[in-house]
Symmetry: C2
Subunit: 299 residues, 2 copies
Amino acid sequence: MAKLIECVPNFSEGRRADVVEAIVGEARAVPGVKVLDHSSDPDHNRTVLTFIGEPQPVRQAAFACCARAAELIDMEKHKGGHPRIGATDVVPLIPVDGVTMEECVALAHELGREIAEKLSIPVYFYEAAARRPSMKALPDVRKGEYEGLKEAIKTPERAPDEGPRAMHPRAGATVVGARPFLVAFNINLDTPDVALAKKIAQTIRAAKGGYVNCRAMGVMLEDRGIAQVSINMTDCASTPLHRVFETVKSEAARWGVNVTGSEIIGLTPMQALVDAANFYLRLENFKRGQILEARLLEE
Amino acid sequence: MAKLIECVPNFSEGRRADVVEAIVGEARAVPGVKVLDHSSDPDHNRTVLTFIGEPQPVRQAAFACCARAAELIDMEKHKGGHPRIGATDVVPLIPVDGVTMEECVALAHELGREIAEKLSIPVYFYEAAARRPSMKALPDVRKGEYEGLKEAIKTPERAPDEGPRAMHPRAGATVVGARPFLVAFNINLDTPDVALAKKIAQTIRAAKGGYVNCRAMGVMLEDRGIAQVSINMTDCASTPLHRVFETVKSEAARWGVNVTGSEIIGLTPMQALVDAANFYLRLENFKRGQILEARLLEE
């Protein structure tokens, strides 16, 4: 089976199309890497790039994008509405298929060292790749942003994990890490009672005794006049969509409310849907290799 | 979206490994074609090869295999337990993704003409590609086999659709066609009552008023002591797995019997499972392009 990693680097440029195109072009130029999407926000002055591939091509593409961003973006001149500390602000590596979080963490450390050594950019490791609890959460790493970090980086608490203990004069600093693939999964109820959606959200969210890999809240869909349980699934392999769906269905039924539908927002790995089919069709001994498309993606 | 066609040619050689390897190698050598499987049966003296790819590479690979088989297999010397009329006996083209049956029929006709013209092998078109009702069913095309067809091919009824009205002196004749992807789907009951499995099979099979794209029978799984509804789904896009599964569940329940599980034997297109997930999770507005792996397979 192919090892697939998704990489979603964020760059501090969302206005100059030629700069964005040059950075995206670096990823496109790496054989075995597929660019799935890139979107630029002029207000944030920021671009989010999504590409996918095997571990080493992904590392190579991420480094090439960083190098190009360091060349073309000058943080001294950057203004924008989104917190940031560098030209390449953050590089998350996300396991998609056939690859563990540990492998993504190792790749993040490898990539971070390369950025630090070859580009002289200080690097912080965050989320699963964090080496210190204080660097786990992205907002903590970005505290004070580019401008504030110029001084703070000299303190032991804010020292980078790799590279010089000083900001790169144009490119600033970069955060590299590994995090799970997040599936945005919303479940719609046949009621306008948003309080009930919130109550059901409590039953499934990790913070309130629910599923470990589940963040949830109740929201109102004003245009449709219905309440929704809005969920972020951070590990569909351990906590599958169908289990959360059935729990919401059962909790809603206790109040005489029905689930009318669900939505997946954005991308999902195929396996999340295959797991649901497997559960409901009660498949016995089904192997991923029986799926034609999975075979096609094999080496 | 990529257009994907599966091709499952059958060759009249299942004993000489070097010959099989040479034929399979022709498919492997075509860029964009992926060989998924090949298996040889020495008793049948026959090899079934499975490969997949975009339409034109698939045609090119199928032709190259045919040409190599015509070179290496002499039907005058062939003996085996399976009905056959030529070195390349039959070449079915099967729509998998993003491609219609009509496109597969057109490709089958193109491939058949090429085999007839360049290799001087008479070609019959069968199944969806048949030009005459009498040639639709493979057993009808193969009547009398290689030996009998030498004379019969001269009659108007058995004249080939393309190529010379005489058997190729070594390679015989070849059948080319298009047929739907077949998913073998079995549903297990918690009863040893095979009569009930047969009764339920009647309710879903096309021949008895059931689903159009459904062939079904009841069988006994002796080693497990349970009865099974054994199903061939010939068009999962029109008649999805979950609909047949739910019907079997409901028909079984009427007799107080439960469905304990199901099996998919062999390969399935991803879409058949995605459709099941879509149904059970009640997904709204889900697009195939939201599946990471589908995006990877795009052009």
